[in-house]
């Protein structure tokens, strides 16, 4: 009996040891892609991609772009089903990113920024056999612009602004110059064109579960916010693509279970990991390709300049001087992510924006300012997620060293929105900007006087941001954004910091643009181009 107990103990010890070895941390650092991708593209095979339930793994309202309220999070699924009129592409290292035509042959914005002309490729058909033509695009856009989704574009349309020019050409006329219109496409619902015929035949309720597009894959089965199974579209307009026969998106409850599922071989890719210790483990795991995407939206500390204490510039400067984002980037994130002094980051269209005399970390100066103010008490909030919570804890420690009394709150979404709408918040850690600062909700969302999510009311800043969004000349736009950024620094409106970006994981033998190569994150996740993803051992 004793021998049996001893052998059981040995077994338990071995199992525990095995688990410890498997979870042992490794330690590469740095951004970009680590691990080996696959060799030449091979046709066939299937792929299971994991998506975090808290973000991309949630599609509770279905996948019709006009009714999907979480469309900004479900870019991967939409690309796989609909293909997209335009796609954001880049060199493998994320450089030279640009929006290119996909189902659209070209997109041309007039010099005054008031008219967009989209020319479609000839011969594209939806998977139900009907043509993807100009009329289909117009029908889609008219529906999309009524969508209850923040992923719909904010087009200021002239009367009868969307028109069929010829069977393959559509024009859109705006009342105000819209310089970022093309840059906005890859992350907005107007990029995904559904079959109007299938929609009419199936009805909206059935269509959003099993939508029909002209993308590389066809929906085989869709369990909302759980599993989406897609099969190859045999009539896809690109010769030889997609490579995969089957693509499955599986929702999963967080980074840890996702990492284990990859290790166990239940899935071959995971989008949007952000738990730093797991990223480090993955980097030391020879079986995984780890791709840290180029950041486009740095964290910023929003200060509410409309109420005390930050209606006083001295209090705002105290925050700048007490904040050491370099130390946070090094201490918490092993220098994996760059620190920015502007509302853009290395993956952004206008990076770098030069800023003169940025008020950098200076503890003595911060202490002196706090003393001059007679003390400073701050409530710092953020949305409840792993990275943001780590950062506000670090900021609390840094600020308290300067003599600032700090309370922190990590808030659920609705509580965060309520705080902003009440106008009574003091400081918030948020992210600002996008690949194009005017795309999507854009940089104005955090800095315009009109936005309920801004703590700033500065007409000069409003003018600069509006001019930058309405100017088609890229050099002029960059100059205007530089001026806006300089104004933010000069007025001590909002310190910028860590430019965090999500990480994609793929097992060996799996490769593809955006998954194992770098493409700047459009909003949060990178737009993976699924028709070009392949597995060599599939």
């Amino acid at each position: 009996m004793r021998q049996r107990i001893i052998s059981q103990r040995i077994c338990m010890a071995l199992l525990l040891a095995t688990s410890l070895v498997l979870t042992a941390c490794g330690g590469d650092s740095g951004s970009g892609s680590s691990g080996n991708s696959s060799g030449k593209p091979v046709k066939g095979g299937s792929l299971t991609v994991l998506e975090d339930t808290a973000f991309a793994g949630s599609w509770p309202t279905g996948l019709d772009p006009a009714t999907n309220t979480t469309g900004g999070a479900n870019i991967s699924m939409e690309q796989a089903i609909y293909g997209g009129l335009f796609l954001l592409r880049a060199d493998d290292d994320g450089s030279n990113a640009k929006v290119e035509g996909n189902q659209a042959e070209s997109g041309t914005l007039s010099d005054d920024g008031l008219t967009l002309t989209v020319k479609l490729r000839d011969g594209i058909k939806f998977s139900d056999g009907t043509p993807l033509d100009a009329q289909a695009v117009v029908d889609n856009w008219n529906r999309d612009l009524q969508a209850p989704c923040t992923c719909k574009p904010t087009w200021q349309l002239a009367p009868d602004g969307i028109k069929v020019v010829d069977p393959l050409t559509v024009s859109v006329t705006f009342t105000q110059p819209n310089a970022a219109v093309l840059a906005s496409f890859p992350a907005s619902n107007v990029n995904w064109i559904v079959s109007p015929t299938a929609l009419q035949q199936m009805g909206e309720d059935a269509f959003k579960i099993k939508p029909v597009g002209a993308g590389p894959f066809i929906v085989q089965d869709n369990q909302l916010s759980s599993t989406l199974t897609l099969t190859r579209n045999p009539d896809y307009f690109k010769e030889g693509l997609p490579y995969l026969d089957k693509l499955t998106f599986q929702s999963i409850g967080g980074d840890q279970p996702a990492y284990q599922a990859l290790q166990a071989g239940q899935a071959q890719a995971y989008e949007g990991m952000n738990t730093t210790p797991l990223i480090e483990q993955a980097q030391s795991n020879g079986n995984l390709t780890v791709t840290i995407q180029p950041a486009t939206s740095p964290y910023n500390i929003q200060l509410n300049t409309k109420i005390a204490p930050f209606n006083d510039e001295k209090a705002r400067e105290a925050i700048y001087r007490a904040t050491d984002f370099d130390a946070i980037a090094k201490g918490l994130f092993k220098d994996k992510y760059p620190v920015s002094q502007s509302f853009t980051a290395p993956g952004g269209l206008f990076y770098p924006l030069e800023v003169k005399d940025y008020p950098e970390f200076d503890l003595d100066k911060a202490k002196q300012l706090v003393q001059e103010l007679g003390g400073l008490t701050v409530n710092l909030g953020t949305i409840s997620n792993y990275v943001a919570k780590q950062i506000i804890t670090a900021l609390q420690t840094q600020w308290e060293k300067a003599g600032i009394k700090v309370t922190t709150n990590d808030l659920q979404l609705s509580a965060l929105v309520q705080q902003f709408q009440s106008g009574q918040w003091q400081a918030m850690l948020q992210t600002a900007g996008a690949w194009d600062p005017a795309a999507g909700v854009g940089v104005s969302f955090r800095y315009s006087s009109k936005s309920p999510f801004s703590g700033i009311a500065d007409p000069d800043l409003d003018t600069l941001l509006a001019q930058a969004a309405g100017t088609t000349d890229m050099d002029k736009r960059k100059d205007l954004y530089t001026q806006a950024n300089q104004l933010i620094a000069d007025k001590r409106y909002s310190p910028f910091g860590l430019a965090f970006a999500p990480t994609n994981l793929a097992v060996q033998g799996v490769a593809g643009p955006g998954l194992t190569t770098q493409i700047p994150a459009i909003l949060v996740n990178t737009g993976v181009i699924w028709d070009e993803v392949y597995r060599s051992n599939g």
Binding site: P60, P148, Q260, P452
Partner: protein
């Protein structure tokens, strides 16, 4: 000649006999009691959900939505109506068997729930089955020789099992059996239609993650009760005096008495257990009711939440009814209405 006429036989009426059955009375009473319980829990759930900041429109649109966009979606979803009107509308439909459509997906709840319920039902059944199937023999062995090797070993395992949260246990099980040994899948679900083994393979680790702490608890609970019975009860002494062997005394007498306590605990546990499936279904990506409930709470989809609450309440009522009926099976005094 005397002719005797047989007295007419009394008419046998099953109705009054059944009506006098204490078991039937119990069943009817409990089912009637379920009505106010269901009303109460749904009203409470609706009220609690309305206290949580935000509504389905806000949750679906995310932090970047403007107040105008939120208002537009609120109107589309009917969330601009007063809370009491929305609840009564839902209740009216539910009474007629129509649980409505999900606010978020627009799918009828009657289509959404059955598949989910099957997954969670199987998970709970397997967890219970395995935990009891192991806990009972282990407890009997441990109680046979208190402080013996089996008792100490089961105490050690029991303490360890009770100390670990089931989600931690789930991750460790995946690490060992899916990642390390590759025997079982880490995530996913295969329905029974894919084959029994294919289905069981996907359910072993999730049900073990729930079942192991249960086994530890039931095992320790039953063992303690058995030891108490064996050491202090007169009927045990009587059974021993009749010359029954120690196993007969333990199994036929002590265990029968101890099973009352175990049944009570198992019945009470059922509600907690369904709650425990929520996180396990998340970890193992099982498309069950717990996962749906969590998603629906996150999106403030009160229609789906209320339907799930009704199911949980019905299960809890039925579990308690079954526990009471089992008492009657085990104790003839209850069965025949004596006190």
């Amino acid at each position: 000649m005397t002719v005797t006429t047989a007295a007419p036989r009394p008419r046998v009426s099953r109705g009054p006999a059944l009506a006098h059955s204490p078991v039937l009375r119990l069943v009817v009473k409990r089912l009637l009691m379920a009505i106010p319980i269901l009303l109460g829990v749904t009203a409470l759930a609706f009220w609690v959900l309305s206290l949580i900041p935000g509504n389905a429109a806000q949750q679906l649109l995310g932090p970047e939505a403007t107040p105008e966009q939120v208002h537009q979606l609120e109107q589309q979803l009917g969330l601009d109506k007063p809370g009491i009107v929305r609840y009564l509308d839902w209740l009216k439909g539910a009474v007629h068997g129509d649980f409505g459509k999900s606010l978020v997906s627009g799918q009828p709840v009657s289509e959404l729930l059955p598949g989910r319920l099957a997954v969670t039902g199987e998970l709970v059944f397997l967890a219970f089955f395995v935990s009891l199937a192991v806990a009972i023999p282990v407890a009997l062995l441990a109680a046979r020789r208190p402080n013996g090797v089996v008792d100490r070993l089961s105490m050690m395992i029991g303490t360890a099992g009770l100390s670990v949260a089931n989600y931690v246990l789930a991750l460790v099980l995946v690490l060992i059996f899916a990642v390390g040994l590759g025997w079982l899948p880490a995530i996913g679900y295969e329905p029974l239609s894919s084959g029994l083994w294919a289905n069981l393979k996907t359910m072993i680790l999730p049900s073990a993650a729930i079942g192991i702490p249960l086994f530890c608890f039931y095992g320790r609970f039953l063992r303690s009760d058995l030891v108490d019975q064996m050491q202090g009860e007169d009927y045990i002494t009587t059974a021993q005096a009749k010359g029954l062997g120690p196993w007969q005394v333990l199994v036929r007498h002590a265990f029968r008495n101890s099973s009352f306590g175990l049944i009570t605990v198992v019945g009470l546990n059922l509600g907690t257990l369904i709650g425990g499936t929520v996180i396990i279904e998340q970890i193992f990506a099982l498309p069950g009711l717990g996962q749906l409930l969590l998603q629906s709470i996150n999106t403030r989809d009160f229609v789906v939440v209320l339907a799930a609450v009704v199911i949980f309440a019905v299960v809890a009522v039925l579990a308690n009814l079954i526990v009471d009926l089992l008492y009657a099976v085990l104790d003839p005094r209850i069965r025949y209405g004596s006190h």
